[in-house]
């Protein structure tokens, strides 16, 4: 039986980490992820975990310590946000190219500048090509569930995993949640047995040597191939998780898409606000639907194209701007998915929204669906690259 609780997203993730009891946690505090190492250090102090907790002096060192520990053969977890992720930049690529299954919660926050502590997705979206699997969660429940599944996904794919969820909105809001019992979570993640690791004296290996023209290309191909194959691993782990909890996860979540004529694609907490708005619009006969990608890396191209093929128009919402003079990162990927699948009948527009924590109201979401109705009726008038909730 699950345990009915009420926790913030950060409390939930810290508890997932307590249940997993990783060998090493190395972290440096940054709002809004700070509570994760804060709560976790309490678990360490109280003897509730046997983890080696490394309170480092910067995020660069946090990721470096994670890399060293993971290469040694440890199960490793950490957390960060925004500029903390920026400072890890160099080490993100090293972690993924060394194929180290590190699990990091990325509590999404706007990257400076101007300095801002609130939620948008500029941090994790900036790191989307760093070779990390990226999971996105709408609620404290999904942040908790993804933290547990991330462990297995990372270890089976040999790729590091980012568990992304919205700063403050999810990380600091208290909501209902179903927790699993400690022993069930421990049994689910099992014991970590790395295939190759530095502390294995029976198999001396080198980690991270110079890799020039003869083989670097092949190694990068292997990394990309592991990311392609990660889709199946994520589905497999999600199925095992569902068998334990009854909570089902795929690569994307579809809400009222069966007969939808207009749809929104959006990540994280705003998907919940959209669901609420869809229910209202459906009462008025508007055939509105939603797609929430749970996985951004690897990107579910085929699944999203399939889910969107019958809609008349779709709005892709980005909680950060690519400053490429055109669309945000999610828009670029979704339109690429449609084009790649040969789907040209769907009108696709982009909205950059919620940047720097600008609140997203049900009225904002309703406006997008109303705009889509006009796009269906009249064709896209003017630019498809739009802003939502921007002061005029």
């Amino acid at each position: 039986m699950s345990i009915r609780e009420r926790l913030s997203g950060n409390e939930a993730v810290a508890n997932a980490m307590r249940q997993i009891n990783p060998d090493v946690v190395a972290a440096f505090p940054i709002t809004p992820s700070t509570e994760i190492p804060q709560y976790f250090s309490t678990f360490v102090n109280n003897g509730q975990v046997t983890t080696e907790f490394v309170p480092v002096e910067s995020e660069h060192s946090a990721m470096s310590a994670c890399i060293g520990a993971a290469a040694a053969g440890a199960r490793v977890m950490t957390a960060t946000s925004a500029n903390g992720l920026s400072l890890m930049w160099e080490m993100l690529y090293i972690a993924s190219s060394l194929r180290l299954p590190i699990v990091m919660s990325c509590v999404n926050r706007a990257v400076s500048g101007p300095i801002n502590i609130h939620n948008d997705h500029s941090d994790s979206m900036g790191a989307r090509d760093s070779g990390w699997i990226q999971l996105y969660g709408e609620t404290n429940q999904e942040a908790y569930d993804n933290a547990i599944m991330a462990c297995k996904i990372a270890e089976r794919t040999g790729l590091p995993v980012m568990n992304c969820y919205d700063g403050f909105i999810t990380s600091h809001s208290i909501e209902n949640i179903e927790l699993e019992e400690d022993d069930k979570v421990k049994a689910f993640v099992g014991e970590y047995k790395p295939a190759h690791y530095l502390l294995n004296k029976a198999e001396p290996i080198a980690v991270g040597p110079l890799d020039l023209q003869p083989y670097l290309f092949e190694h990068k191909f292997q990394q990309a191939q592991a990311m392609r194959e990660a889709k199946d691993v994520i589905l497999e782990v999600s199925k095992e998780f569902s068998a334990m909890t009854g909570r089902e996860y795929g690569l994307i979540e579809e809400y009222k898409m069966e007969d939808a004529e207009i749809a929104i694609v959006v990540l994280n907490s705003t998907a919940g606000t959209a669901k609420y708005t869809i229910d209202r619009l459906r009462e008025q006969g508007v055939k509105a639907g939603l797609i929430k990608p749970r996985v951004f890396r690897p990107f579910p191209y085929a699944e999203i194209a399939e889910a969107l093929k019958n809609v008349k128009a779709v709005a892709i919402l980005d909680k950060c701007d690519s400053t490429n003079g055109a669309g945000g990162p999610l828009y670029t990927e979704v339109t690429s998915a449609l084009y790649g699948a040969g789907i040209t009948s769907v009108k696709a527009v982009n909205y950059v929204y919620g940047v720097g924590g600008r609140d997203v109201r049900t009225d904002d979401i309703e406006k997008v669906y109303r705009d889509l109705q006009l796009d269906v009726a009249n064709g896209i008038q003017g630019t498809p690259y739009r802003y939502l909730g921007l002061k005029g």
Binding site: I117, F168, S173, I174, N176, R361, T362
Partner: protein, 192 residues
């Protein structure tokens, strides 16, 4: 969404409005509800105006935005009246409950023409009588439970006893005072 109740709290940094909103979420959770409790994070300073929110429902809550059209508003400090538009969006069939020594009629003029129910409670006197110090959040918590009717007095009292036993495990001497503050607050709301 059926039975969704939305509450907005106005207080000043350091008065415990955020804590009170989390306690309310706890109490509602313990009676089987779905809840949200979240403050609006900003550059908090002691004494600066702050806002916190609650959603309480019989069904799962998916909406994740601030609250713009609350059913109820709680004002933990009446010096905010006039400085902050506390009744903004407040539903006319809802209510506002204000911590004040004044009567509802005396304060109505400061509420931008709000036509709904105005309630007051003297949280300061209750707190000082029962606890010897000024902690407005416990009386305000009881007042909003009373005004909103989200749970029966008895269920709320039973839940708070358990909650205080847990919260004050290391200083049980304050439990009786807090419970007395709650009992008095439930009975001393004006304007119901």
């Amino acid at each position: 969404m059926d039975n969704l109740i939305e509450i907005r709290w106005h207080g000043r940094g350091g008065q415990g409005a955020k804590t009170a909103s989390l306690l309310l979420a706890d109490a509602a959770f313990n009676t089987g509800k779905y809840i949200q409790g979240f403050p609006e994070y900003g550059p908090e300073r002691m004494g600066a105006p702050i806002t916190a929110y609650n959603r309480i429902s019989d069904k799962p809550i998916t909406i994740h935005s601030n609250i713009y059209e609350p059913d109820f508003v709680v004002v933990v400090d009446d010096t905010l009246l006039g400085a902050v538009d506390v009744t903004a969006g407040l539903k006319e069939d809802g209510a506002i409950v204000i911590n004040s020594t004044k009567s509802p009629d005396e304060l109505r003029g400061l509420l931008n023409g709000y036509k709904g129910k105005v309630c007051t409670i003297d949280a300061k006197t209750i707190s000082i009588d029962c606890l010897g110090k000024y902690f407005p959040n416990t009386p305000m918590l009881a007042a909003i439970v009373k005004v909103s009717g989200i749970m029966e007095d008895e269920a709320f009292l039973n839940d708070m006893v358990e909650s205080f036993k847990h919260k004050f495990a290391k200083k049980p001497e304050v439990i009786d005072g807090n419970m007395e503050a709650i009992r008095r607050s439930l009975n001393e709301v004006k304007g119901l």
